[in-house]
Every structure is written in structure tokens, then in C-alpha cells.
């Protein structure tokens, strides 16, 4: 590895090499400039950061465990698989880390209203949770199709006092929810804080969300050294927008560890039905950033496709685009079927019901473990728990025996 990657990106203008930046209408520029300044000040304020850490500990239940999947590893018969158990965090996914940070930042900036987009509903639930905790009003934009397939999370958001706004434009999934959240934000920008749920969007979001999620990797790195006595040979995480993956990978970027991002390959990368923006897309600008997108030759965005609502997005965070181009992280597709198989294996062998998103990471890890010796260690980000997916996955297994 050559120049260090940690601390080097983004540059002063919010670019990760040719990616990232700020591709938004002029109306939002002032808000993004203010947010960037407020975030920089908050990061340098020991009071803010210690409140953030205290809330992660006492409210979000961190640190989450590093857990050796002994029976699963034996069953595969290759490398040993370690799970970073983000499913144990409050609200059941890594999304809470980012939201605690942005929620506190919103309060610091004097904003009383927060909005969010959500796909699987985990980010929406996390945002509704923090809004309740901090006494803010909360609106969550969610594709009508996702409202249907992630019904339990819709109920949770409503119980937490949030308004869920079903979005029926476009393809009625995550990208359309983000379109609608941006449209709402541009109208209400003076009083509203937009809590973006992943490492995408205009600068400073990709860097800010990464810095809030890196607690995953910071903890895991320490836990590997303490519990296993060494760093992992390979890190694996699923990549929707890419926040759990950036959170895990970032603190290891300058270590001699291989990294693998699992993208949703839906029905296969050779079909039009997938959501693998890096493996099956090309560069372009969407939702404020230059990155890899699923699109046609004339720049119209394709509908993404995945069994997993949280990965069903035709773009990816710009830092992943750079890490791909640099060859620092490998990105591979995992099909719906492979993810469901991995889901079942983790249920049966470890007594853990993973989220469908996280099952993509597991499937990629299982594939790699089979090729590697027992002396290798693979660290997987188990980004969330699967309670939200039970109905959906049961239907899938019935239809695809």
C-alpha cells in the first residue's frame, strides 16, 4: 500500500478523487456550507464528542460484541468467521450510530425538525428513535413498495411518533424516497435538518456519516487485537449506500487486510434485476454526488432490484467508488438466493437471525471462507437483525423452494 488512505479523503472541496462533490441546486448550497462548518466545529468540541460517545454507550448499547461464529466456521470448513454484532445495537442495526451523531448535531444547530429517507426502514426507525429521544419532530420518506415489504418498521416509526410519508413517484423505492426528501428539504431548508442514512449525498454527508460510523471499525479493530490477538485477513460488509461497510473498513484502510464489499446482485449480474452499482454500473451524478450508478447510455437512472430493501439503490457512496478504482476494496455481487441461503445458515448454526442486507455480507464471507485456510480470520459486519424481514423472507422461500 502506498500513501495512507485514512485522513486523506475527501479533499477540501469534498471530493474523493473524481467522486463525491456537491451536485445540488443552488438553494441547498448555503445549508450544506453551514452543515459542513457546524460539523467541523462539533468534531473539535470535546463536549460534543463526549456526549456523542456517552449516548452511543448508554443509549445505543455500544460497544457491540465481536462474536466468533464457531459452528458456522466449522460447517464451512475454511477460514474462521467473526461477526461484528451491529444487530445488538439499539433499534437493531448500525444505522443508530450515524443518527445519534446527526441528531445531536441538529440540536446543536438549533433545528427542531428532522427528516430522513429510508429503504429497509432501519434508518427511518433510528431517526424516529433519536427524534423521540431529543424531542424533535420527524418525517420519514419511504417508497410505497418498501412501506409494503418492511411493514413492521413502518409500525415502529409510527409508534415512535414519526410521520411516515409513502413515496409513489418513480419506482417507489429508496431512490425515490431520497428524491422526495431532497425536494422537501429544499422547501423547508431553514428549519429542517436532513439526516441522510448512508455515506452518499452531497458533501459533507459522505465524510460525516463515515466518521460517525467508523466506531464500528474502531471497536472491531480493538476487539480483534484483544480477543483474537491479531488483525483479520479479510473484512466483509454489505454495500447499499455503503455506510456499514465504510464504518467497518475505514479504520483498517492502512492495515494489511483485504476488503470485500458485497453488492446486491438480485437475480444475477447478467440480468437487469440487480442493485450492484459498482460491479454493474458506471460513473455519474445522482443525489448530490459523483459516483457509480446504474444507468442507461443516455444517463437515465435504472431501477435497482434486490430482495433486500436496504440494498435496493442504484448508487453507492462516493468513497466506495474511489476505493474500487484504487483497487483497495473488491466489490462482488451476491444474489437474492445466495443471501437467503446465508440467512438460513446463520439462523441454524449460530442462533442469530440476520437482516437480509447483512445476509449478503455473510454469503460473500462464506464464499471466501471456503477458499481460505482455517488459519485465516474473516471479520464480517453483521449490520442488522432480521426481525423486519421475516414475513418477506418466508414468502420468498415459499415461492423459491
Amino acid at each position: 500500500m502506498n500513501a495512507p488512505l485514512i485522513g486523506n479523503y475527501p479533499d477540501a472541496t469534498g471530493h474523493f478523487g473524481p467522486y463525491g462533490g456537491r451536485y445540488v441546486g443552488e438553494t441547498l448550497i448555503a445549508a450544506l456550507t453551514d452543515l459542513e462548518a457546524a460539523w467541523r466545529e462539533a468534531q473539535d468540541d470535546p463536549g460534543f464528542m463526549s456526549e456523542f460517545r456517552a449516548m452511543l454507550k448508554h443509549y445505543a448499547a455500544r460497544p457491540t460484541p465481536l462474536d466468533f461464529a464457531a459452528r458456522l466456521s466449522d460447517h464451512i470448513g475454511g477460514a474462521r468467521i467473526y461477526l461484528k454484532r451491529e444487530d445488538c445495537a439499539h433499534t437493531g442495526a448500525h444505522k443508530i450510530n450515524n443518527v445519534v451523531g446527526q441528531g445531536l448535531l441538529a440540536r446543536r444547530m438549533g433545528k427542531r425538525n428532522v427528516i430522513a429517507e429510508t429503504g429497509a426502514g432501519q434508518h427511518g426507525v433510528a431517526t424516529a428513535t433519536i427524534a423521540a429521544r431529543l424531542g424533535m419532530s420527524c418525517k420519514v420518506f419511504m417508497g410505497a413498495e418498501d412501506v409494503r415489504r418492511q411493514a413492521p418498521n413502518v409500525l415502529r416509526m409510527r409508534l415512535l411518533g414519526a410521520e411516515v410519508v409513502p413515496v409513489t413517484s418513480g419506482t417507489s423505492t429508496l431512490k425515490d424516497a431520497m428524491n422526495e426528501a431532497l425536494r422537501y428539504w429544499v422547501a423547508e431548508v431553514e428549519h429542517t435538518f436532513y439526516i441522510i442514512g448512508t455515506v452518499s449525498g452531497p458533501h459533507p454527508y459522505p465524510a460525516m456519516v463515515r466518521d460517525l460510523q467508523r466506531v464500528i471499525g474502531d471497536e472491531a479493530r480493538r476487539q480483534m487485537l484483544e480477543q483474537v490477538g491479531r488483525l483479520p485477513d479479510l473484512l466483509v460488509a454489505c454495500v447499499g449506500g455503503g455506510s456499514n461497510a465504510m464504518g467497518l473498513f475505514y479504520p483498517f484502510l492502512d492495515d494489511p487486510c483485504a476488503m470485500l464489499g458485497a453488492e446486491a446482485a438480485g437475480e444475477g449480474l447478467d440480468t437487469p434485476h440487480h442493485a450492484a452499482s459498482i460491479s454493474g454500473g458506471s460513473p455519474g451524478a445522482l443525489h448530490g454526488a459523483m459516483t457509480y450508478l446504474l444507468q442507461n447510455d443516455e444517463g437515465q437512472i435504472h431501477e435497482a432490484w434486490s430482495i433486500s430493501a436496504g440494498l435496493d439503490y442504484p448508487g453507492v457512496g462516493p468513497e466506495h467508488a474511489l476505493l474500487h478504482d484504487l483497487g483497495r476494496v473488491q466489490y462482488q455481487g451476491v444474489t437474492d438466493r445466495e443471501a437467503v441461503e446465508a440467512f438460513q445458515l446463520l439462523c441454524r448454526f449460530e442462533g442469530i437471525i440476520p437482516a437480509l442486507e447483512s445476509s449478503h455480507a455473510l454469503a460473500a464471507a462464506i464464499r471466501e471462507a471456503g477458499k481460505r485456510p482455517k488459519t485465516d480470520a474473516i471479520l464480517v459486519c453483521l449490520s442488522g437483525r432480521g426481525d423486519k424481514d421475516l414475513e418477506h423472507i418466508t414468502a420468498y422461500m415459499k415461492a423459491n423452494p
Binding site: Y23, S169, R183, A187, A285, G299, Q300
Partner: protein, 269 residues
Amino acid sequence: MNRIDLTFAKLAAANRKALVAYLTAGDPDFDTSLAILRTACASGVDVVELGVPFSDPTCDGPVIQAASERALRAGMSLSRSLRLAAALRETVETPIVLFSYYNPLFKYGLARIAEEAASAGVDGMLVVDLPPEEAGPLADALAGRSIHLIRLAAPTTRPDRIRMLADGAGGFLYLISRTGVTGTGGLDYDEVARHAALVKSLCPHPVCIGFGISHGNDAHALAPLADGIIVGSALVRLIADAPSGTDLPERVAAKIRELRDGMDASPVS
């Protein structure tokens, strides 16, 4: 001379304001769209903004979103939008501004779009999600061609930045009248007047006000504040109301006359 510059020079000499009309290319289909555009140019439109339909128009409200969807369903694309511009250019000298999101232009290739837009007779480009900080590559591609890169200023834009935007503006500066996406209504005339006065004082180029202008009344109130007004959703809505209507060009022309009458009834500032 660039047709936009020529138009604003002529209007200024005649003490008149510009009426800029936005229409989505290919809405509801290529031929009807061309007929509407031709009639609009003959009915008092000074500058045409031709909107390239995009799958994810995050700066647009429901009216223009729906127009984009109609056009895309009818097979519209960036390359066909250029063909539409070229077809319009065969019969009119009205300046044409290609109005787009960045992704279609970027994906098409910036050198290629610059060349093809120039040969289609396009006079300006306005890219809604491309602030000057990101516009270097497109500006480079357009260098040496008679195509202005039109900039936007918003109600949230602060004086230092207005100055920066104005300094590099080409053609005219598009002043967004209110926060929010495109669409009709929501205008606070006093608020717009305050901001327009600030922008006018800082901008050496013509300034046109857009977003929310729907009726002759709006045109009457806002035209005196700047060098022109921009109308989009109010025209596009007429297509949404009757996409298969054979009298669409005439209905759009009637709306344009209403707006023009409103403007011309204004006491000129």
C-alpha cells in the same frame, strides 16, 4: 453574437422585459412538443428553455416530474432533445437554452454534448444541479463555442456568493424566487422584491426571476423587479391537463399571451 445576448440587448433598447418559457422536451411526444414550441415562439416568448427529461428530477415539483415521465415514456432522451432543438431552430431565431440535470450530459460525454448542442443551434445551457464549483469540466467543454452556461442564484444565496455567481454568469442570471422545487404558487412578492433588488445591485448581467410564476398577476408584479421572468410549471400543467388535446399549442399560446399582457401592463422600472 449569441442569440441570448442579442435578445436581451434588443429588449433593453425597447425597454421591455423578457418572457422565458420552460417546456419539457418531448412532452407529451416529439411532434406535439415541436408544434407547441413553435407556437410559443410565435406568441411572445423571448427565450425558450428546453428541458431534457430525467428519471430523477430532484429540483422539480410534481408538474415537471410528471412531464419528464410522459416524455421518457414517449421515448425521449438527451439525443432526441437535441434533435428537437435542431428542428425548432430550423424555423425560429428565438434563443434556446438546454435545461438539464447534470447526469445525462455527463454520461453522454461533455465534448460530444458541447459539439452537438452547438450544431443544433443551442445558445445556452442551464444545469440545475451543477453549482459553479462542479462546473469546470462542462465550462471547459463549452469554451470557444457560442453557448452560455447560465447560473442560478437562490433566496438562500448570501451576498458574497451572489457576487461570485454574478461575476461568472453568462447570458443571464436565473434568480430562483423562493425556496422549494419548481411548481406554481408560493410567491411572496415583497420577499422576492427584496432579494431581487440585492441581486440586481450585484449582477452586471440581465437577471430573470423564475419558480412559482403562474398568472398574469404574478408576471405583472415580478417583471419590474428584474430583466425578465421565467415560466415553466404553469405552461407544462396545460399539457398535463389534456396531453392528447389537439389544441395544445393554442392553449399554451393563450397562457403566454396572458403572461405577456401582465408583463406589458407593468409600469417599467
